[in-house]
Symmetry: C2
Subunit: 346 residues, 2 copies
C-alpha cells in the first residue's frame, strides 16, 4: 500500500492526476477503498472468543481501572458518541488535559498502528497506555492487577477468557481482552460502502464529493478500508497551518523515531464516521468539518478548494457514517474488602 | 406508613418487640416488606412511553448535558456498578468533590423522595439538580436547552416523546424523560423477593439474618419495598457516631426545613443491592458492609451486635441483590455548529 500511495502522491505533486469520469467513478473508488466488513476481523496473537470479548467489555467500561475510580476507556472513547469524547483534548486525572485529541475506537482495528503517532502496534499495546498515563487514568499495572485479583467476578472471567493459563490475570491479558472487545466496535454498511458494493446509494452531490476527493488528491493519504489510518505524513506537506491548529510543541512522530523527516509527521486520520467525531486534527481545535476539509486542502494539497468543492466533499464524508455498534452496558464485578480504594486526591 | 414505623420505633425503644419464631418468619417478613415488581411503576404526572424512556436514556448517558462535556448522569449513577459510582463522594466539574455519597438510581423510583435529605419530591425534580450543581455538572437550564435545540436528533426525539406540545424541548421535559428512563432501572427477583413470594430461596444463615434484622429493630426504619427510603431519622438516634462517619458540618434535613428536630436527620437508606453500593452512609466513609451494620446497631439501636449477628445480617442483606437492568448504551445525536462548545477551563 505504501508504494501505491507514494506513487499517487508523486502524481499529485506533478499535477497530472486526471479527473475521474462519472462512469468510472465506482470502479476508481473500488480501486482505492474497501467496505468495512460485516464482522470483526481475526486478530494476530489474540483469540477472539465470546468470553474474551465479554471480559473486554467489562474492562472497557470499568472506571475502577483508573486510580481515581472515575475514568474508564469509555470516558474518552464513548460508544454513544462515535467512539470518542467530543472534547478538544481529553480531561483526565486531577482535571489534567491530555496532549492530543482522543481518536475514535470505532474501526481502529483496521488502522496500521494506534495513537496519532502510531507508537502502539495494535489495540492491545494501545490499551496499556492510557491506563498508565498520569494525565489520563494514572494507574499502574500492579494496581490494576491487584484490583482485578480482588474481585471473584474478574477472577472467574479471566479464567474463562484465558483457559488453560496458570495465571490468567496479567496486564498483557487485560490488554488482549480489551483489544478483543474493541475489535467488535466496527461500523459496517455506510452508504458509501453500499455504493462500493454496487448500490446507487449516493446523491449527485455526494458523488461529486467523491470525485473531488479523488481528483483533488485527498485519496493519496486517505484510502483503504478506513480512508486513512494506514500511513504517516507531515501535517503541512505543502503549507504548515498556524500554531492554533498545529502547536509547535507537538512534533508528532519525531518524538518516537527521533528522525528529522518525521518532524510534525502524524498518521493520516481515518475518516470513517468523521461527521460524528468533531473536533478535528490531533490538536482538536477545528470543530467544523467544512473548515477541516479546507485546512487539509491548503496544508496538504496546496489547493484552495472553493466553497462548492468543500461542501461536496463534506457531503461525501457524511456518507462514511456506518451502523453504530449496539453495546449492552456490562454489569461489573462487585468489589471486596481487598479491592484498592479509589484515590481521588490530587 | 409513617405511623406504623413510628409505632415500631416506640416499641423498639421500649425493648418489648418479641423475637420472631422461625415458623412465622415469612409471614412477619411479608408484613414489613414487599418484593420489587417485575415491571416499572406508573409515574404521577409523567407518561412512560417508549419514546420518552428512549429519550431519557439518551439524556442520562449524554456527557454534553454537563458544561465540560465530561459528566453525565451515568458518571455518578453507573448502571454497571449497582447504580452509583463507588466513590466516597463524587468527583465533578474541575475535580471538585460533591458533599455527599451518590445514592443508587436503582429502585430510586420507589423512594418517598430523592437525595439524602429528601429535598426533591421525585426523580424528575432530582434530575434538575446535579446538572446545575457547580460541583457536579455545572450547567444551566438555558445552556442545556440550547444544546438540545442545536441537534436535530434531540429535536426529533423530544417531539416524539412529548407529542402535541408546541415547544417540547423544555427543562421540565428534560427531567421527565430522565425520570421515565430511571423508573425502568429496577432490580426484581432478588432471592429475598423469591422468599417473600413463597420460595425456599434463603439459607439458614440468611434466615437467621432476616430474623435478627427484624428482632434487633433494623426493620423499624428499613422496611417497605426498598427496605428504607421511606422516612427520615436522626443519624445517631441512640448514640451519635464519630465525625469521621457523621461530619459535623452536614446537618442533613435541617438545611431544608430549618427545624431543630431535623438536625442530622437523613432519609433512611434503601438497602436494595446494598452489597453493590459501597461505600456507605451519606459521608461514604465506611467501605465494609459488616462495619456499616455494626455502626447502625450502635448508633440507631443502642445494640452491640455480636459478630455472628452482624455476619448473619450481612448474609441477609446480600439476598437483596436483584436482577440488574440490562441497558443498551444509546447512540447519541450528532452535534452541529450551533451546539455550545464544551467548557473544560476551571
Amino acid at each position: 500500500m505504501r508504494r501505491l500511495f507514494s506513487t499517487a502522491c508523486a502524481i499529485l505533486a506533478a499535477g497530472v492526476m486526471p479527473a475521474f469520469a462519472d462512469t468510472d467513478l465506482r470502479a476508481a473508488a473500488q480501486d482505492f477503498f474497501e467496505p468495512i466488513p460485516l464482522s470483526p476481523p481475526s486478530l494476530d496473537g489474540n483469540i477472539v472468543s465470546r468470553t474474551r470479548v465479554d471480559l473486554g467489555a467489562m474492562l472497557f467500561f470499568d472506571p475502577r481501572m483508573s486510580r481515581s475510580g472515575l475514568f474508564s476507556c469509555q470516558s474518552c472513547h464513548n460508544v454513544g458518541l462515535g467512539g470518542d469524547d467530543g472534547l478538544e483534548t481529553s480531561v483526565g486525572h486531577g482535571w489534567q488535559r491530555g496532549p492530543r485529541n482522543a481518536p475514535t475506537v470505532f474501526n481502529a482495528v483496521f488502522n496500521i498502528a494506534q495513537f496519532w503517532d502510531g507508537r502502539a502496534a495494535d489495540l492491545a499495546e494501545q490499551a496499556q497506555g492510557p491506563v498508565q498515563a498520569g494525565v489520563e487514568m494514572n494507574n499502574t499495572p500492579d494496581r490494576v492487577i491487584a484490583t482485578l485479583e480482588s474481585m471473584p467476578g474478574y477472577v472467574d472471567a479471566f479464567a474463562a477468557a484465558f483457559p488453560g493459563e496458570d495465571m490468567p490475570i496479567t496486564f498483557d491479558n487485560f490488554a488482549l481482552a480489551i483489544e478483543s472487545f474493541e475489535a467488535t466496535l466496527i461500523t459496517p454498511n455506510a452508504r458509501f460502502d453500499q455504493f462500493l458494493q454496487g448500490a446507487d446509494s449516493l446523491t449527485e452531490e455526494e458523488l461529486r464529493g467523491l470525485a473531488a476527493f479523488m481528483d483533488e488528491g485527498c485519496v493519496a493519504c486517505h484510502a483503504g478500508v478506513n480512508l486513512g489510518g494506514q500511513e504517516y505524513y507531515p501535517f503541512g506537506l505543502v503549507e504548515r497551518p498556524g500554531a492554533d491548529i498545529l502547536p509547535v510543541g507537538d512534533r508528532g512522530r519525531f518524538a518516537i523515531t527521533q528522525t528529522v523527516t518525521d518532524d510534525y509527521v502524524f498518521r493520516a486520520s481515518p475518516l470513517r464516521n468523521i461527521e460524528l467525531t468533531a473536533p478535528y486534527f490531533h490538536s482538536g481545535t477545528v470543530w467544523s468539518l467544512e473548515e477541516a476539509v479546507a485546512v487539509m486542502g491548503t496544508a496538504q494539497l496546496g489547493a484552495d478548494l472553493d466553497e462548492r468543492d468543500v461542501s461536496d466533499i463534506v457531503a461525501f464524508l457524511r456518507t462514511l457514517t456506518g451502523e453504530q455498534p449496539e453495546v449492552v452496558h456490562p454489569i461489573l464485578p462487585v468489589r471486596t474488602d481487598a479491592t484498592p480504594l479509589p484515590e481521588t486526591d490530587f
